[in-house]
Amino acid sequence: MCGIAGFIHKSIGPEEAKNKITKMISIINHRGPDDTCALIGKNFCVATARLAIEKIKYGQQPIVDDKKRYILSFNGEIFNYKDIISKYSFSENKINSEVKLLAKLFELKGINFIQEIQGQFAISIYDALADKLYLFRDRFGMRPVYYKKNNKVFLYSSEIKSIIAFEETAPATSLMSIASTSLFWSNIGNMTSFKDIFQIPPGNYLIFCNDKVEVKKYWENPISLLNNKDSLTNNFKYDDFFQLVKDAVKRQIHGEVGFSSYLSGGIDSSVISYVLTQIQKSPIDTFSIEFENKEYDESKAQKNIQKIINSNHYSLKISNQDIADNFEKAITHSECHLFRTAPIPMFLLSKYVREKGHKVVFTGEGADEILLGYDLFGETKVRKFWSKYPSSKSRPELLKKLYYYLPQFKNSRYFEITKEFYKKNLQNYDDIFYSHQMRWEQYVMIKSFFNIDDEKYEKKMLENVLLQSMPKNFKNLTMIRKAQLVEINTLLSGYLLSSQGDRMTMAHGVEGRYPYLDDVFTNEVAKISSNIKAPGLKLKNILRKTFMKYLPKDVVSRPKFAYQAPEAKVFFDNKKGMMIIDDFIENLPNQDNLKIEAFTNLIKKFKDKNSSLRLGFRENMAFIIGLSDHFLKKSAKNWSKFNSTNNEKIKYVYYK
């Protein structure tokens, strides 16, 4: 895993080019502290900060191919690296690294080479002969690529800060990003949180040639290709599914530096840790977050599974103040508007993983989307069921089963009113996004905290943008498959794999592995009927039933407890947090995206000693988005002034 950065230009002299590429790569050095190399050419410069994991001895980057035509730089892992070598009978002596394999395969197959590659990656290929740049991003968006084109240059990098360091000007934060984060909980499509800076959407590639940018999709999610009824439903074998999971984990044990695993206490990471232990045949290292605030803590469940797999377990206890203290730092890595504080503990956990000597950590992201684990899938079913008989007393009771861990459900006294909230638009089946109605209903309120009154920020407009990124047959899919695709295209790629994933692990040079998003696994699982994955309200039943044989009942049957962290109040119950708030208030007059009165009042409410520990969901969201906007602006200013002083570690190569 690495950081890559580069640019195409016409008029920059060699000395300036060297300075620029040095800035771009040095500012993302945390992604690849092992070695850094920059290639400087007449029109094109590229650099890689490498985190050596596979073929440590031979994997130096960037590389120029034998014929001196292609220059490649790559961030990620190709899990079927060895299969491709044997498929094409390449010489293992010559093709002794993943990046060399990519060069050979691209030479052989052109753009279609991407169809053969399984893994998590961002790949940059410059064709010096045609003066053409290709950038590829993996299917789910585990590895990032950002870009910007201005009058003089085309810039790209694994992180936005390189682009800002190059330009030496801080861009404005994007109102569209605030709108999108308020509605979908993440940026969507090619948008980022900064104006005029874009990302390549997952499963897409970009070509830059003749001063033109072209972005194309190379992959369609198999969930849309295979609808709900298929042959696997009738003769489904749980043992086969066990093998699928095991193979996915096995494929991702890739590299020469060992691995560790997160252990959240839920079934997803428990299964991964169990399978890893079986494969390794000895205890593995596992890492968990504990919260001082018991409402969020899962340590009991974590200890349960730890005892079973007998792992060397490391647990990090997080206080409210830890979250407040590290919020700004985490924003400098997430580089986007956050809507909740949950990435901050993950930021601290990856630091712990690195301190314990690990560069690789397995994690359970994707299981909820791929195997139907989210409450939202259950909520969709309950609402549809309830809608047939809206006055029913018992049907809404099913919501209690789903959201047992939320205070408004845990304490039965709130249920009578809470259910009114879920009752809205029950019969609105015509809405193509029926599954997300309740969540998106909040938008009107959240948006009222920001200066996003323009028509283009209206819910319908943003939904249309999302719809455009969906597969052509989206409308014909079942409600549940639609919901899966919405989750994958919004929260999973834009937040869980990004702000809470890659950016938090790579902040400390740790690479995440996501077996539930393995290419072979997701293809196979898409063929399985939703009724096997989650019959009725038995969410993720496929995984639970399969592992019933191997893990104790309390681990397998533990209902989903969504990972959350204490929210906005962490800034109001300790000194450091209050200092952040004072600074935020002082800066409010300069916050052009925020409605000043709305935020001043909101802060009063958070400070009110009679308010509850949590306050409303939307109030928390609006506050976190607003505070992250403040820190994004501050970060962008710092990046624009970035000056690298530590260049002696960088190896420079000049080519003609």
Binding site: E420, M445, N601, D608, S612, G616
Partner: protein
Amino acid sequence: MSITSKEIEKDLIRYLKNGNPILNEMKDVPLNESLVELGYIDSFGVIDLVTYLENKWKVKIENAEITKEKFGSISKMINLVYSKLSEA
């Protein structure tokens, strides 16, 4: 009994307005409609409101009172708190 229902109303509306820019900009806050149905509070917001009223006015709101019938609008909340204060 020194607290009037007008005082409870004023305080509650101020509290609600602090967390809700849409309500804040309204001249006439809807007193008799359900805040949940209008979309002005979310499900966490219900807990916050109950907690706030209990803390602020030192009253105990019973489980059976957190219903649409008794707690479903600003007026109903005011009446509920006021009646408790009057009993005290």
